[in-house]
């Protein structure tokens, strides 16, 4: 399933973003480069809702985590 690297939204929205991801059951990892989003089967629609709600910019599709360290 796809993995995305999303740029962080403005600071006042970040807690709400993480709450929304957790409410949708979407796994994510906050790293210096941004939010790594790990989608499982059937989560694409929920992810699109979150992405639009927070106007998230996708930095990269299927990024290599090793490149960020």
């Amino acid at each position: 399933m796809p993995t995305y690297l999303a740029q962080p939204p403005p600071p006042p929205q970040r807690m709400a973003l993480m709450d929304a991801l957790e409410a949708a059951g979407i796994d994510y990892d906050r790293q210096p480069a941004g939010y790594f989003i790990y989608l499982r089967e059937g989560q694409l629609e929920a992810w699109e809702r979150v992405r639009k709600e927070f106007s998230l910019q996708i930095e990269e599709d299927d990024p290599s985590i090793l490149d960020t360290n």
């Binding site: 962080p8 600071p11 006042p12 970040r14 807690m15 993480m18 994510y28 990892d29 906050r30 790293q31 210096p32």
Partner: protein
């Protein structure tokens, strides 16, 4: 890394030498002696443990300005404060033991509602110590490091407040975001624009936030199921 239990064998509270700032208190434990500044409040049932907020090798000790200011406000609400000086600053495992001993001391005095506050390195200390006592009902980290904080999920069901300055040049604010992502509800993340690692640039927002958050979370019954009956409190030294 965390000892199962810590014993405070005895303690001494010196005469108040700092005016109304508190009393220098020495805790004698099974692993050595600890020094604290204890701001007692008559008939207090709740207390805030400010880990690592007392500094210096000998008197006069220095107190972090955040703990000094907020503990003064909390005292007006009937909430005591204990500022803990570490024996071995920046060495995580012994600092966790120090904080455990301080919690044991406060429990021994009859406090049944304890909040922990840790700044920077001490953020990892309070996250590590929080699950070890049911008397701990709330946790605050200020500009916390992530090392030693990966067990943040275990703080729940206690409320966790994470505060970080967006101009922090020592520990990037994403550290607190990452801890937030590891933690479970109830949790809150506050990112302060214009604040550095010390957070003092935004003291006008920070101090009232800490005061009100701690006061609310230390109310009787705030944590509901975690409370085990009413506290049987007595003043230290009585």
């Amino acid at each position: 890394m965390v000892e199962a239990s810590v014993t405070v064998t005895s303690y001494e509270i010196a005469a108040p030498t700092w005016g109304n700032q508190g009393d220098i208190t020495h805790l004698h434990t099974d692993f050595g002696d600890l020094t604290c500044l204890f701001r007692q409040v008559p008939k207090a049932e709740a207390v805030v443990l400010w880990t690592g907020s007392l500094f210096g090798a000998e008197q006069p000790f220095r107190v972090s300005p955040i703990s000094q200011a907020v503990s003064s406000d909390l005292a007006q609400d009937g909430i005591a404060s204990l500022m803990l000086r570490y024996r071995d600053t920046h060495n995580l495992s012994p600092c966790i033991r120090d904080a455990q001993a301080a919690v044991a001391f406060l429990e021994g005095l009859g406090y049944r509602r304890i909040a922990l506050v840790g700044h920077s390195f001490s953020g990892a200390v309070v996250i590590s110590v929080a699950p070890l006592s049911q008397a701990i009902v709330a946790v605050v980290t200020l500009a916390s490091q992530t090392y030693g904080a990966t067990t943040a999920a275990h703080v729940s069901p206690r409320p966790l407040l994470l505060v970080h300055g967006l101009n922090d040049q020592r520990l990037n604010p994403y550290c607190s975001e990452q801890i937030y992502s590891w933690a479970r509800q109830p949790k809150e993340l506050v990112l302060l624009e214009g604040a550095s690692h010390g957070l003092w640039e935004r003291k006008d927002e920070l101090l009232p936030l800490l005061h009100s958050w701690l006061r609310d979370k230390l109310q009787p019954g705030a944590l509901g199921a975690m409370q085990k009956g009413e506290p049987k409190h007595r003043q230290a030294g009585q």
